[in-house]
């Protein structure tokens, strides 16, 4: 019970940004408790990923190696992580609040008979009892709760962009290669195929133009796309179209366009909200934008309370006129 263990996730064979953030946050917590920080790399044929993580100042890197761990199969990953946690008994277990973390952490916590707090935005140690104090937004971000749970390991998933990413250091971590005890019977859900789709990565956009419930027809998103194209051309900024949740519910746009608590949390240079009233779930996703422009027919809507610029007007008239002006 004398180590903090964190789950490594990768992108193109290297630790991803959220992992580097976890390493920073985790190392600070471990230092406060006077315990070691270690990381676990799960997969098949992953020595280069483990090597890469080894340059970030952790004490140990556990490499869980097994053919069944190739790709991300939740049943196998949960089984392997349960096996490791039973071997080493970590005091704290951290994962990112990512696609992988959200799926693995609750199941792992249940198997280890401990409690998990998801989507944390702050972590500290209670000096009285050494337990983690977990801060997380609730009610869509309308309130911030500080929680404590008993049980070991102390488990949380951490929202991205909460800690600064760790930089490489001179010392190398000790690599521990392990083959978990897994057999085919643990796979209850079988993957038949992965279908790649063209996905928008809103966090790479300088400008995001989002439509919401106030956009009355699916075809009206063509107007927003035309505005994005015009802005792209006139300013050279990467401009993408996003939306709030009701638009995805109507199946007008795919969920990768969704800005908000359960969509993307973004901070573009300019955010344009068209026909979005400003429910908190949505605001959580875009409030860190540098400049916010709201277009809405309702002068009393919440979006104007958080906007830098507001236009009370029907988007059906305003946007074509704006596109025309930008194209002049």
């Amino acid at each position: 019970m004398n180590e903090l263990l964190l789950l490594v996730e990768s992108k193109e064979g290297l630790p991803d940004k959220t992992t580097l953030e976890l390493i920073r946050g985790g190392s600070d917590l471990a230092k406060e408790l006077g315990i070691d920080t270690s990381a676990v790399v799960v997969g098949h044929e992953t020595p280069s990923l483990a090597e890469s993580v080894a340059s970030y100042g952790l004490k140990k890197i556990y490499r869980l190696e097994h053919p069944m761990l190739s790709g991300f199969q939740p049943d196998a990953w949960v089984g392997a992580l349960e096996w490791l946690c039973r071997q080493i008994g970590p005091r704290i277990f951290l994962a990112s609040h990512s696609f992988v973390g959200k799926e693995v952490a609750p199941r792992l916590a249940c198997r280890l008979k401990t409690e998990l707090t998801t989507d944390c935005i702050g972590l500290k140690i209670d000096p009285q009892d050494g337990l983690l104090i977990r801060t997380k937004p609730i009610y869509g971000g309308n309130a911030i709760a500080a929680l404590k749970c008993a049980g070991l390991p102390q488990m949380v998933t951490v929202r991205k962009n909460i800690f600064e990413p760790m930089e490489p250091v001179d010392t190398r971590s000790e690599l521990v290669d392990l083959v978990p005890d897994l057999d085919e019977s643990i796979i209850k859900v079988r993957s038949l195929k992965i279908v790649p789709e063209e996905v928008v990565e809103l966090d790479k956009a300088h400008v995001v133009i989002s439509g919401g419930r106030g956009v009355v027809e699916k075809e009206d998103f063509d107007m927003l796309k035309a505005l994005a194209a015009a802005l792209n051309k006139s300013s050279g900024n990467v401009t993408m179209v996003g939306c709030s949740r009701p638009v995805v519910d109507k199946c007008w746009l795919s969920s990768d366009h969704q800005v908000g608590l359960t969509g993307s949390i973004i901070a573009p240079d300019i955010y344009v909200a068209v026909g979005i009233s400003g429910a908190i779930q949505h605001l959580v996703g875009m409030i860190r934008s540098k400049k916010i422009i709201a277009i809405n027919t309702d002068p009393g809507c919440n979006m104007f309370k958080v906007a830098d610029y507001g236009v009370v007007e029907d988007y059906k008239v305003l946007i074509p006129a704006l596109v025309k002006k930008l194209e002049e």
């Binding site: 993957s191 992965i194 422009i293 236009v311 029907d314 006129a321 930008l326």
Partner: protein
């Protein structure tokens, strides 16, 4: 194919679409007060819609299971009006402010009491605490396969086929029944329920069983409450909005274009 038995776990919460000005935080009592009507948690509505579509395709029975306090009849009868066949409420003062593990435990006891089932559907997360854990833990407790983030669900020949949203697109996965699937909003919104249909249901006496800790023979000793140390309001998000005025929409468009040039 035999008709399938679906259980949808649905929670009542204050409308998460409420404007933030309608929400206050009572720091002393550690309570969030939302001045908004109660609704079914939005992802749970998606789960119900998915269930109704499965029932339309292969036939079956949908039971909605709701754990909560003072659950509004109007809200939950909406589930019946939309297409659910039965509704069971779980209410007990001992079940208030439970942590996710304990909620999953109580639900697992209720599901064991219901007895036979093929498919359990839950929303991917609730719209109040946004934890996103109960469905996954419930499946672990029941020892059944679990698939998360479904954007479409088909039941065929004793198995469930799911298109699961993944960061690069979607993945087609399958599991044998019984299984639990957590549903995302790409499934689509819950169908419209006419007011007339709702009113008709409200007039008719419908037996809605209410189960408490005695009915579920839950072990109260193992139930844990959320240990809330502190509750605080979020940082102030307000900004000073400069309204762009104009004699015509074209005039406003001109001025807005100038703003884009200035800040872009």
């Amino acid at each position: 194919m035999k008709e399938i038995r679906i259980i949808v776990c649905a929670k009542q919460i204050p409308d998460p679409e409420a404007p933030f000005s309608n929400v206050t935080v009572n720091v002393e009592k550690k309570e969030v007060i939302v001045d908004a009507p109660d609704v079914i948690s939005p992802y749970d509505e998606n789960a119900l819609e998915a269930a109704i579509r499965i029932k339309e395709e292969v036939g079956g029975k949908i039971t909605v299971l709701s754990l909560g306090r003072k659950v509004s009849d109007t809200v939950l009868r909406k589930t019946l009006a939309a297409g659910a066949d039965a509704l069971i409420l779980i209410e007990d003062p001992a079940f208030e402010r439970l942590d996710s593990n304990s909620v999953a435990y109580v639900l697992s006891r209720a599901i064991q009491k219901i007895g036979e089932y093929d498919l359990i559907l839950t929303g991917r997360q609730a719209g109040d605490w946004d934890s996103g854990q109960v469905g996954l833990i419930l499946a672990e407790m029941l020892g059944i396969p679990t698939i998360s983030l479904a954007r479409s669900i088909k039941v065929d020949d004793g198995r469930v086929l799911v298109e699961k949203t993944i960061p690069v697109g979607y993945e087609v996965v399958e599991a044998g029944l019984p299984a639990l699937v957590t549903v995302s909003n790409e499934v689509g919104e819950l169908r419209y329920v006419s007011r007339t249909r709702m009113m008709g249901l409200l007039k008719r006496p419908i037996p809605i069983p209410k189960w408490g800790s005695k009915d579920l023979v839950t072990d109260l000793e193992i139930l844990k409450k959320v240990q809330l140390i502190e509750l605080s309001p979020p940082p102030d998000m307000r900004r000073e909005c400069a309204f762009i005025e104009g004699a015509s929409p074209e005039d406003k468009a001109d001025k807005l274009a100038a703003v884009f040039k200035e800040i872009g």
